[in-house]
């Protein structure tokens, strides 16, 4: 196996609207480095409206304080004629602004300063929600020397295939999405059953044990799905590539 990074589909066109030129260029470069090659930029509301009319934009990232208006008004204008997904990216950090933006119908709201990786993940998430396309690297991965095919719900360990039950699949996907981070018992219980953790402690333990049996080399000494005492579980994962 060799390490390869699968690139996101390049079909999406993303519009970034911000009056700060340098930041605009940095965001454009950051998203391009992460696989979004079709980036359009605009520094004013007027420019943004023109781009949206002319180009086939799939997602817009809007600043709020713009020289010829504000992002909220621009968003309302966009919504009059389309359901284009929008993410607000603003220096306005007040709860009122955030709630207002989301209340208008925006898909997400981020405040500056921000991590480019976070912006990328949120953009990706919105695109998946709206257009159903997912990064291919997420469907087939290597976890702990095992090949995991999320679409087929199969783990291949040492040449042997193990089917995942629906709950095991959900569990593994949740842990993998939050890989290398602690996922609380409550979050897992909510993911699997939509219920509070108390009352489902044993069920969760059982499913974790079954999952470990399929994915751990030594299930009695788990190295992949570790328990964090009193809190939850963590999937330890180093990026490898499915070949």
């Amino acid at each position: 196996m060799k390490d390869v990074i699968e690139m996101m589909s390049t079909q999406y066109q993303i519009l970034i609207v911000d009056d700060h030129e340098e930041l605009l260029e940095l965001i454009k470069k950051g998203l391009q480095d992460r696989g979004f090659y079709n980036i359009k930029i605009a520094k004013t509301c007027q420019e943004a409206r023109r781009v949206i009319e002319v180009e086939n934009i799939d997602l817009a990232v809007l600043d709020i304080n713009l020289p010829d208006g504000d992002g909220f008004t621009l968003f309302r204008h966009i919504r009059e004629s389309s359901t284009l997904p929008v993410l607000f990216l603003s220096a306005r950090d007040e709860d009122a602004d955030r709630l207002y933006g989301l209340g208008l119908g925006a898909d997400d709201y981020m405040t500056k300063p921000f991590l480019m990786e976070e912006l990328y993940l949120r953009v990706q998430s919105i695109l998946f929600r709206c257009y159903g396309m997912r990064d291919k690297k997420d469907s087939r991965v290597i976890i702990n020397h095992c090949e995991v095919d999320f679409d087929a719900a199969i783990i291949t360990k040492k040449g042997q295939e193990y089917s995942l039950t629906a709950l095991e699949l959900k569990l593994l996907r949740k842990l993998y999405t939050n890989k290398n981070k602690v996922v609380t018992f409550d979050a897992l219980s909510d993911c699997l059953w939509g219920q509070p953790y108390y009352g489902y402690e044993n069920s969760l333990m059982v499913h974790i044990r079954h999952l470990r049996q399929k994915i751990e080399i030594e299930p009695s000494k788990p190295k992949c799905i570790t328990t964090v005492r009193g809190l939850g579980y963590k999937l330890i994962h180093r990026e490898k590539v499915y070949e």
Partner: protein, 433 residues
């Protein structure tokens, strides 16, 4: 408001007391003045008999007559049988009509006192215009109802005092409201009329000045917070690029840039938070929070943010009785507070710690105790938190914000320092705030 009522109550009571004291003093004084004991010798029946029988030879005559202008004795037939410095126009013989007049307090404008002994009368006369006497005829039924009159009058006085006090209270109420409003940094618009117009006008002025300063301060903080965010975004983007580079040194630099940028972002957030809490900008968004899952999430986020060593652990212990407990809080603010305490425990102990325990239990209040086995919190920090000021005091805005957040939730914060660690005790009310 309670203070004002207390002031008015005391004023009323003291006024009544002063009134009562004056009445008593006056009654006593008047009593002394009008009593026979004034400057005159109190006549006994023995003295009356003695003077009537012995007249000028009576031993106590001078003493008896002291203070009187004249004296005379009239026998049973109305004849004057003895006199002492009698005015010249007095008759030698008194008719029954004269006697009747004598008994009516005055004779020829002389105030008189009449003392009978057998069939004789001893009459003592005082100087004209020296005494005022008045015959009072009061039906017994009226006399018996005097106490009632007194009580009624007293009640009327009290009622009047209370009414006037209430009027005073009403008059001062806007002033007190105005002072309360100033404390809460409200904009005042007190009516500039009536008895307190001068005070109201001044209070309105003070409110306007404070409000202007307040707006300027808020705008400054907002402006700084807002304007600094875009440059920080640029720094963060560059830092991230460096961190993602394949060159090791660039990675290290990039990581450092991101770390410092996070600190600046946190400082800005602290500034905004302080703005909200101390100056009351914005309300708490109170919601009922199930505490066990909430604390698990807070603890998990600490794990996810910090690279803990293999022998380091943040352990959450939830008491059996606390599993299903909930609390009313502004989740975002409270998370901020807990995150601050836990982050401080990790950062300031500088890897010299192994365990941070978060103990959650519920009795009359919700108790969250965070204990670490690190190097302990410096004494100066505790002193500053308790309000001590000095030139070299450490800047601990984060801890002040934690304190303000807890107090905004009507809870309490206690920090104990030991040689081998620190204990932070947060108590929160169970009921809705």
């Amino acid at each position: 408001m309670n203070n004002l009522l207390e002031i008015i109550r005391r004023f009323t009571v003291k006024t009544l007391m002063v009134f009562a004291i004056f009445v008593v003093i006056n009654i006593i004084g008047l009593g002394i003045l009008i009593s026979d004991d004034g400057v005159k010798f109190r006549l006994s029946s023995h003295d009356v008999e003695g003077l009537i029988e012995e007249q000028n030879h009576y031993e106590g005559k001078s003493k008896i007559l002291q203070g009187y202008e004249w004296a005379m004795i009239i026998d049973g037939k109305g004849k004057r049988i003895w006199s002492n410095t009698l005015p010249e126009d007095f008759p030698a013989h008194f008719t029954p009509a004269d006697i009747a007049r004598l008994t009516k307090w005055y004779y020829k404008d002389y105030p008189v006192k009449v003392y009978p002994s057998g069939d004789k009368l001893l009459i003592l006369g005082e100087a004209k215009n020296s005494l005022w006497k008045h015959g009072l005829s009061v039906p017994l039924s009226v006399l018996r109802s005097i106490p009632v009159f007194i009580i009624v009058n007293l009640l009327m006085v009290i009622g009047l005092l209370m009414f006037m006090s209430f009027r005073l209270y009403r008059t001062l109420q806007p002033v007190v409201n105005g002072i309360d409003g100033l404390i809460q940094l409200k904009v005042l618009d007190l009516p500039e009329t009536g008895q307190t117009q001068m005070i109201n006008r001044q209070l309105n002025k003070v409110s306007s000045i404070l409000n202007t300063r307040e707006e300027a301060r808020k705008n400054w903080i907002h402006g700084v917070s807002h304007d600094i965010r875009t440059p920080l975004s640029l720094i963060m983007c560059h830092g991230e690029s460096l961190k993602d580079s394949s060159h090791y040194e660039n990675k290290v630099i990039g990581q450092k840039i991101l770390s410092e940028t996070h600190k600046i972002t946190n400082l800005i957030d602290d500034l905004n938070m302080m703005n909200k809490l101390v100056y009351g900008e914005g309300k708490l968004n109170i919601e009922k929070v199930n505490l066990a899952p909430y604390l698990r999430q807070v603890t998990a986020s600490i794990y996810n943010r910090f690279q803990l060593g293999e022998d380091q652990e943040v352990l959450l212990a939830i008491g059996d009785t606390a599993r299903d407990s909930s609390c009313y809080m502004d989740k975002k603010l409270m998370t901020r507070a807990l995150d601050n305490i836990l982050s401080n425990a990790i950062r300031h102990n500088q890897d010299q710690w192994n365990k941070i325990e978060i103990i959650f239990h519920v009795d009359e209040v919700v108790n969250i105790v965070i204990k670490d086995d690190g190097i302990g919190i410096p004494e100066e920090v505790l002193k500053v938190l308790e309000g001590e000021n000095s030139e070299d005091m450490p800047h601990i805005m984060g801890l002040f914000i934690v304190k303000d957040i807890i107090e905004a939730h009507r809870g309490s914060l206690e920090i104990k320092a030991y040689n081998s660690g620190t204990e932070v005790i947060i108590s929160l009310p169970k009921e809705e705030i």
